[in-house]
Symmetry: C2
Subunit: 350 residues, 2 copies
């Protein structure tokens, strides 16, 4: 039989952070697409009554200040509230519920609704990073987990194109970080080193999945990536466990790599690239302290759905929901395509 | 503080089959929706060149027979192939890949492209069930896992409205069944009874999550459901571990409850209700034998994305991808809404 080529032959890859496998079927790229297409991301019309604008009145009746940089306010329709009665103790091991307290905030990145991260200046993005650190510091004192995330684009369920993210803080450790906590801890006990530091070291040698490298961060397509153009940002110096551990250089460098990566994303299919992104670091809460989680390394993840063009996404449906994630191009191919994308935004060139 | 009401107050629920939690935020139903909407499911136009029609020539050049009931053929763009070279052994614990062999088939349910399960007769659906059993028998001899699944509707990445499902068989046990295998086994060791049999017993007493009950099956919204109108079909007599264990009564009764449930689904938002559905039973393969997996109970799951109407779905995005699934109505509320749906299809009434 032929020699194995990762770019041609199906195989499964293991994600040690999540203890999960992904099916890689690169030969499937040839499949034609005649199914549902999306509206091109740039076609989302700006809303004249946009409640996120400086000075606008929101549905709660509250009025935004005339902000000029970032602006944080409580989500008017929060999935998590601070004061709710606790459920009674469960009466059966198969019917377990538990109390959940929390708070949800919205954070505007910029006063201008037509702005996006790749079009903002590094200083403007740095203001976003600094505010994330503030939020994590404040909410992390009380809550076990503070999830900062951005849903970008209508295709990602984002109902407002104004540049913003959300912050949901909870009294419980959610599934995804709970699994990452367990896997990183097991690795640390076994190998006496943080998993992601070992991973980073290897990726810096192998290079084939690296998209961008700057003074403090690397953007790479993880070996076990599920979404077609999924990427991960890892700090290359020191071992920050949480956003609150970042040095000033790491913060500015993070703003820079976020801008660089997002320019490449937008250039890939010549559209405002949709995604969900967010940060994962060591859990927080009243008993958390700097340096208490040596098995953790802070990282950001970008989960973009587009596969072939601005209008054709990867559907994570039947097989993926019921059995296992499946991807059509290899992580190395995705990294190469992103590397080859121009570093100047396609809109800036006109 | 007020008394706890599950229909009003947020809480988290545990899924013992998957060792995962879901955030239930029923107060969030009040949230207005101004984001992306979908094309109503019935608007998907029939394709005159539909390659799934009896007698049609497919992209592979192969011609379908003039079939009159079900028809199974190899997927022309399979994610899993039978003969591919194996990847070399991994050189690092964080870069593990493994061989994956398999096969992908497509199964048409009916020769008529405008047909769907709720509109088919029970006898026609029974032919589908019987063919599923045949496929499982044949492919299960060789493969560890045979995933039968249906992606229904353009919103679920289904590119052809012709009634059909897919069957992907693999040499590996995929993530989802691997976790269910582990959780059911642990429960069985601890309690000496199959988890889902215990669960079924309780649900039959509690009744509040039951949607339909017939002679051999129950359709219910699981206590830990993630998707708004997610349901599970469980056999109420005996302990079938795989589809191949089903009696003739169970097969006919399955066809009946599938029709009944899908009529309710279509009536809920007066549209052809989209979903991904599939079956989970004990793993198969050369060493599998009837009765060898007493911790398993065969079940079907329906994962439909619609939340508020035929065009507004639940987006599983930022928080859900990065932290934990979140739902806006309780499983009990969903079960009640489905129970109240008419048992006669809205199209049959005109
Ligand atoms: O094979 P199909 O129907 O073209 O493809 C669809 O179902 C597959 C299995 O769930 C997914 O991997 C694809 O992303 C989806 O578009
Ligand atoms: O709060 P939003 O932006 O209206 O809502 C969006 O993000 C939330 C968090 O990921 C999801 O639960 C919603 O389904 C989605 O529509």
């Amino acid at each position: 039989m032929q020699e194995f080529k990762a770019t041609e032959h199906q195989h499964v890859r293991y994600n040690p952070l999540k203890d999960e496998w992904v099916l890689v079927s690169p030969h499937r790229c040839l499949r034609p697409w005649s199914g549902q297409t999306e509206t091109a991301p740039d076609d989302q019309p700006p809303d004249p009554l946009n409640p996120l604008l400086p000075g606008a009145t929101r549905s709660s009746g509250q009025r935004n200040p005339v902000y000029t940089s970032t602006y944080v306010f409580p989500n008017d329709f929060p999935a998590l509230l601070e004061r709710v009665p606790d459920p009674p103790p469960s009466d059966h091991p198969l019917f377990r519920s538990s109390a959940a307290k929390g708070t949800c905030r919205v954070m505007c990145f910029h006063p201008d609704s037509t702005m996006t991260i790749p079009l903002m200046t590094v200083d403007e993005i740095l203001a976003v990073v600094n505010e994330w650190v503030n939020q994590l510091k404040e909410l992390g004192r009380k809550y076990t987990w503070v999830q900062i995330f951005e849903n970008k684009g209508a295709i990602m369920g984002c109902s407002n194109p104004h540049p913003h993210c959300q912050i949901w803080a909870s009294s419980y450790l959610p599934n995804e970080p709970r699994v990452k906590e367990r896997c990183q801890k097991e690795y640390f006990i076994k190998f006496k080193r943080p998993m992601l530091l070992d991973y980073l070291k290897e990726e810096m040698i192998k290079k084939e999945r690296i998209v961008i490298l700057n003074a403090e961060w690397v953007a790479l397509v993880p070996y076990w990536a599920v979404w077609p153009y999924e990427t991960m940002l890892l700090p290359i110096n020191g071992k920050p466990q949480r956003m609150t551990d970042l040095t000033d250089e790491q913060k500015r460098s993070l703003a820079e790599i976020m801008k660089q990566l997002n320019i490449k994303y937008d250039n890939l299919f010549k559209c405002s690239f949709p995604y969900s992104m967010g940060f994962h670091g060591a859990p927080t809460g009243p008993s958390a302290a700097p340096g208490d989680s040596p098995h953790w390394l802070l990282h950001a993840i970008y989960l973009p759905p587009l596969l072939r063009s601005a209008t054709v996404k990867k559907f994570m449906v039947g097989y993926e929901m019921l059995a296992q994630s499946q991807r059509d191009l290899t992580p190395e191919q995705a990294a190469q395509k992103l590397r080859e994308c121009d570093d100047v935004h396609y809109k800036a060139k006109k």
